[in-house]
């Protein structure tokens, strides 16, 4: 009879916080738990009593990695409440912002969070010396994705320009 217990406290290189607990007996999984130890934030309550125009700025702070998505979702909610239909241009620009975030997020995932596992290293840092060109290219691509978000939203983490109805300012350059 062999017992194995695997306890990963705080899974690294993921967004969010989680533990994995697994116990194995005779090669069979007895128990497998994914514990979400994320600190609860209570946005639902924090939003109470706030003006509608603050909502996108507040809920962006649910997550810095997908802040644009939260912003866009809440803009839609606020606009729905006002029965406001954004212009086609606004919709297109918002999509551009979203795609910028997809790009940024996927690049982060593949090169920074996942790749170290395949190369059996702790992080991207050692890869910067073993595969400098690839890491530099990844950084350049990530920077480009950030810039795409910034052109539309002002910045990637917690965009500033998207507001219910459109944008505070369009980038004309």
């Amino acid at each position: 009879m062999t017992d194995i217990t695997i306890n990963v406290e705080h899974i690294a290189r993921v967004e969010g916080h989680g533990n994995v607990v697994m116990s194995v007996r005779d090669g069979r999984i007895k128990e497998l738990r994914l514990e979400i130890v994320e600190s609860p934030r209570f946005f639902e309550v924090m939003l109470q009593g706030r003006p509608w125009h603050e909502v996108p700025h507040i809920v962006a702070r649910i997550c810095g990695i997908c802040a644009a998505s939260h912003t866009l979702a809440s803009l839609r909610a606020v606009e729905d409440a006002f029965k406001l239909v954004p212009s086609p241009q606004t919709v297109l620009l918002r999509k551009l912002l979203l795609y910028g975030e997809f790009l940024q997020s996927h690049l982060l995932h593949v090169y920074f969070l996942v790749a170290p596992d395949f190369f059996r290293v702790d992080s991207v840092i050692p890869l910067a010396s073993t595969h400098p060109e690839v890491v530099k290219r990844a950084l350049r691509m990530k920077m480009l994705a950030n810039e795409l978000c910034a052109v539309v939203g002002g910045r990637h983490i917690h965009p500033v320009t998207p507001v219910p109805g459109g944008f505070t300012r369009l980038n004309r350059n």
Partner: protein, 245 residues
Amino acid sequence: MKPKVAFFSFTSCEGCQLTVLECEDILLDMLGQIEIVRFREASSLKRDDYEIAFIEGSASRPDDVTRMRKIRERANLVVAIGACAVSGGVNFMKNFHYLQRTREHVYGAQADWFPTTQVQPVEAVIKVDHSVYGCPMTKDEFLETVKSLLVGRTPRIPQYPVCVECKMAENVCLFHRGQTCLGPVIRAGCQAFCPGLGAGCDGCRGLAPDHNLASLTNVLGEYGMKPEEVRRKLRLFNGYIEVQP
């Protein structure tokens, strides 16, 4: 010897940690100068022999206080990064609601499964040596702080308000557009980021040390904002000032 550095995350959106990774153009150079021994978002290393601890987020769970104290014991220098860590940030809005009702509102009968306390910025729990302001933290200020710590000098962080940088950038003042802005009482350093984009400052970098909030409240009154609305607006990022010792 490269200083050993750790990044810790408490109640937050992790956007400030991500800001570190978004220093793309300088990231590799920075990594050449410091040894990261802990940075959960980006590394599976988990060492405790750090000298400098960067802390993101606020304390809001029962064991957060203990964790922060342990970090303080181990680190020579503690740097609070971002509004959540410096002043509670948006998290602090939670403190203006009844805690038990808040928990039940969100988690109903399972409220007890999600232990939570009043939100506290890092400085309310342990001594903080340096702060990097902003939500997310201002990238340049983070780099300035890292560089300064590396050469052993005090980081150059503006004490004056956002208007200074706004005027240097020759932005049209939001007030002259008939809108409002907290810039005159908020610490500069973001290069008047929001006014530059046509949006009023919401105060994410916290009050400037020499602010005259009473006078700005009068000005905002002329623009139709009642004093309680000014207070509410400040609570977005700066609720902590209402209880700060």
